[in-house]
């Protein structure tokens, strides 16, 4: 059997030492009527070669971004992953370790997380960051619970332009806690700030704004910060860390908690996971921040080192009084983000952001020239933008897909009132030629290059 070392002779010796005559005796404590009286109905067990071929067969049934041109984002983004990221993640001292409970032999993971926390604080303009959360959606949901606890209030206001799946997750998390969710309407591609006054009362724990929002537009976070702070509530900003090389940080704009999806920092699309939820907050809320946190300390001889700290917040110490139940998080994904940021540096990150900005704006201009395509919103956007079409989105996307292009997301799926609106994404990955190909196929000028 693969991965099992026991020889027959060793097994005999071990059983003798234990003082039993057979392995079955070791399972004698399981009541007979509860024992499974048949073999598990599973595959028979394959050699590595056979398993590889079977799994590869399944992989080959999928179309991947090496085979089509991706113009879709909506919470999962195709960016370039420098080769060094994958190579360093493949160091098995990182990936075969457990949570760093024994700091003396875990300084590698601990220091990497400390450095990750520093980079997240720098990007978000926040005082402290945790070691990671499951993904952007769950980080957002737990930030809302954190705000509820911190303010002792029972309502959360969330923009309707926060990622729909994040809002669904938020609802799942808050429902049984009796927290009321107020959804804020949109206007001109942005969260309708004018309609806030009546909604943001002094029983609202926090307002949640995503920027760039789900439609790609950049929200004026400062305005929301001011309004909610007047009522004594908190601003939770949900953002794409990759955009923060060019966009003002949530901290600068007055946010109290910053969360978001860190997949854009060097993690593959991987069909939606594993991704990286990041979570940072103003220093005064540190003892309410959920999840692992690494801190600096000294050893017995006064040398500096790192440990998991402020554990009195956590489930294994506080049990039912803990602010969260999180234990395993996305440590290796946080490591990937830290390596990505170290490779790019501030100039590299700014350049990626600038290229996403410029390429998406180039695509927008070309598309707007097509007959039947218009731009419904004037708000500044980062790498995603909405176009309105005369033709049904399904037909456009069908034509694009047949030409090897994954087109935009039909917003009608999440916003039934929006008929014929497409959300497109153009990252630094797309070349000028590829953008022009999109426009040509869209406009029916060309059949494109790739055919599946």
């Amino acid at each position: 059997m693969p991965f099992l070392p026991h020889t027959r002779a060793e097994e005999e010796t071990m059983l003798k030492t234990i003082g039993v005559s057979s392995v079955d005796e070791l399972f004698g404590d399981i009541p007979r009527e509860l024992c499974l009286d048949r073999p598990l109905q599973l595959p028979l067990g394959l050699s590595e070669k056979e398993a590889w071929e079977e799994v590869e067969r399944l992989a080959q049934k999928n179309k991947h971004t090496g085979q089509y041109l991706c113009f879709r984002g909506a919470g999962a983004y195709e960016h370039y992953q420098p080769k060094a990221v994958k190579h360093l993640l493949a160091r098995s001292e990182f990936y075969t370790a457990y949570t760093p409970y024994q700091p003396e032999i875990s300084q590698g993971t601990l220091q990497a997380i400390f450095e990750y926390q520093t980079s997240i604080c720098e990007l978000t303009g926040m005082g402290v960051a945790n070691a990671s959360h499951y993904d952007g959606a769950t980080a957002l949901a737990e930030a809302a619970l954190m705000a509820v606890e911190a303010t002792g209030r029972s309502k959360i206001a969330v923009s309707s332009l926060v990622h729909p799946e994040y809002r669904e997750t938020l609802k799942t998390y808050l429902f049984r806690r009796g927290v009321e969710i107020i959804e804020l309407p949109y206007q001109e591609g942005l969260t309708a700030v004018d309609e806030l006054a009546g909604v943001l009362t002094n029983d609202v724990a926090a307002v949640i704004i995503q920027s760039p929002n789900f439609w790609g537009s950049i929200e004026d976070l400062a305005q929301f910060a001011e309004l909610i702070h007047q009522q004594g509530g908190l601003l939770i900003a949900c953002c794409d860390p990759l955009a923060l090389g060019v966009l003002a940080s949530p901290g600068e704009l007055g946010a109290d908690i910053a969360v978001g999806e860190g997949q854009s920092l060097g993690l593959p699309l991987s069909f939606g996971g594993p991704y990286l939820g990041f979570m940072a907050c103003q220093e005064k809320y540190v003892r309410r921040l959920p999840g692992r946190i690494v801190g600096k300390t000294v050893d017995r001889l006064g040398r500096e080192g790192f440990v998991l700290t402020l554990q009195a917040r956590e489930q294994h110490i506080r049990r039912e009084k803990a602010g969260s139940n999180i234990c395993s998080n996305q440590s290796l994904c946080a490591l990937a983000a830290a390596i990505y940021l170290a490779l790019l540096g501030p100039q590299g990150l700014e350049e990626v952001g600038r290229q996403c900005w410029q390429k998406s704006h180039y695509a927008k201009e070309l598309l707007a020239e097509l007959p039947g395509v218009s731009l419904p919103f004037a708000a500044p956007f980062f790498q995603e933008f909405v176009v309105q079409t005369a033709e049904a989105p399904a037909l456009i996307n069908q034509r694009l897909w047949e030409a090897g292009i994954l087109g935009g997301l039909d917003l009608g799926r999440y916003y039934p009132e929006l008929e014929n609106y497409l959300l497109l994404c153009v990252t630094e990955m797309r070349t000028k030629e590829e953008i022009e190909q999109l426009v040509e196929v869209w406009g029916g000028v060309s059949g494109g290059k790739t055919h599946f």
Binding site: I30, E33, L40, Y101, F114, K296, E350
Partner: protein
């Protein structure tokens, strides 16, 4: 610290990665972004060449201890060997480079893998349906309790909000119950380390939502009265939740579904070896009996027999909703699927058999020098406590730190909470007899050192890059990030 911080190695102007030149007409970002939305202060990120970054993280990795480094008997964490093929399958372009929002026709392989994994896990658990959405064990627990609450609510029993949890439970159980808006009632263990039935009967009632149980429990003991426990809870109208952290003990021998559990979660990063990643990503799929299926998180992934294709099903009016964006930690699912393919039903059973064999063998060896609070055989893990000494006794922390000097990862310490000075040891099935013998010999030697030279234990570790770290100072004066001087 042993290695300078990456920020301290940074030199302004260096860079580790370059982009292709911009090939579209440049519009000025300065002009395009309104001033108030623009970043003014450049973030302080490291500035290094690729080789410097690679060396930094390679050196950091060398300060770590993983399963590939050596024996890792961390109780309840199932630190078994992680097959290398797992890393490669998850990196296949057909899995790692697919967008979660591609047309379903273009991800039939991914969906087939997920549906099959759901079926495999259901067979192993004795359950009817699975969701792969939860990202970790604790996330699975939350999903499970929300499912249970939704089920009760659908029966018109909104009032069921008490969750019964044994005092030996993982900390995530009570924390999860609280996160799900429930109140916790702790159930004491009896003298054999199992659930006290009298105490259980006293607290079950019309307000019982569920009993959360790990079986074998955290003492490594099979709850032999599980059938009675299930009957008591079910008769009171409550449901049974199975914490699958310890599933590695009984695969193919017994199934939570047959024991009466209604909801289970598995930790794929433990039992199915995906690996643990230094603190994740994990994966915590949740399985349920038929009556709870309508409440599973959406979308559900199914095989449409009529159309002969796999697809998402979001039409689930009774669903508890999403528990995360997209469909789960997919890359981790690919690894667990591959692991199950390689072991097969027979191999999984043999893995459990050898995990239990190894644990009992090691327990026997250690019981020469260490106290065994619960007599008898164990399942995949067990508890021992340090022996009494002339000085009055050594502390578990000292044993753990001294083990580091001998090149072993220590067991889980001070858990479960019901045993003072607990050392919780789980050798797993992939360790050979020589390793177990060597570990036992070192443990015996440490017991001897405790008698002869206790100071060497108090001062341990001596051989690691850093000696014992001051956790009190870290918490009292938190330094949680680097700052430029």
């Amino acid at each position: 610290m042993v290695e300078k911080l990456i920020f301290e190695k940074s030199v302004s102007g260096r860079r580790g990665h370059y982009l292709p030149p911009l090939d579209v007409p440049a519009c000025s970002v300065q002009e395009a972004i309104p001033a108030k939305l623009r970043r003014k202060k450049t973030p302080v990120l490291p500035q290094l060449t690729e080789v410097e970054v690679v060396r930094h993280y390679t050196r950091l990795s060398s300060l770590n201890y993983g399963v590939d480094t050596g024996f890792y008997p961390l109780g309840s964490c199932t630190m078994k060997y992680n097959p290398k093929i797992n890393e490669d399958v998850a990196n296949l372009a057909g899995f790692s480079q697919i967008h979660p929002d591609q047309p379903a026709e273009s991800v039939q392989g991914a969906l087939e893998l997920m549906v099959k994994l759901q079926q495999y896990l259901a067979e192993i658990a004795g359950m009817d349906a699975f969701t792969l959405q939860p990202a970790a064990g604790a996330h699975g627990e939350l999903t499970g309790l929300l499912l249970i609450r939704a089920y009760h609510a659908a029966q018109g029993e909104q009032q069921r909000d008490k969750v019964l949890i044994p005092d030996s439970a993982h900390g995530t159980n009570p924390a999860t119950a609280s996160l799900a808006g429930c109140q916790i009632i702790q159930i004491p263990s009896n003298g054999q380390g199992e659930v006290d039935l009298v105490a259980l009967k006293r607290v079950v009632g019309k307000d019982t939502a569920a009993l959360m149980l790990t079986n074998p429990n955290t003492l490594g003991l099979f709850e032999t009265q599980i059938a009675e426990i299930a009957a008591i809870v079910h008769e009171a109208g409550g449901l049974l939740y199975y914490d699958g952290a310890n599933m590695n003990a009984i695969m193919g021998y017994a199934r939570p579904g047959d024991m009466g559990f209604d909801v289970v979660h598995f930790n794929l990063h433990k039992t199915f070896s995906t690996p643990h990643g230094g603190g994740g990503p994990g994966s915590g799929p949740v399985g349920v009996k038929r009556k709870l299926e309508p409440f599973l998180p959406k979308p559900v992934i199914i095989y449409d027999r009529q159309k002969q294709r796999y697809r998402f099903d979001g039409e689930r009016p009774q669903s508890i909703g999403r528990v995360k964006a997209f469909y789960g930690n997919f890359g981790v699912l690919v690894k667990a699927f591959t692991y199950i393919l390689m072991l097969g039903g027979k191999g999984l059973k043999e893995a459990s058999e050898k995990a239990v064999l190894n644990a009992n063998y090691l327990l026997k060896l250690l019981s020469q020098d260490y106290e065994q609070p619960f007599a008898g055989l164990c399942k995949h893990e067990f508890i021992v406590t340090p022996p009494k000494t002339k000085e009055g006794g050594i502390r578990t922390l000292d044993v753990a730190k001294r083990l580091l000097d001998y090149g072993f990862h220590p067991p889980t310490v001070y858990f479960p909470l019901i045993v003072a000075e607990a050392l919780m040891i789980e050798p797993t099935e992939t360790e050979n007899k020589s390793t177990l013998d060597a570990f036992a010999a070192v443990m015996a030697r440490i017991a001897q050192e405790a008698e002869e030279n206790p100071e060497i234990l108090h001062q341990a570790p001596h051989q690691t890059p850093l000696s014992r770290l001051d956790e009190t100072q870290a918490a009292r004066r938190p330094v949680l990030r680097w700052k430029a001087d």
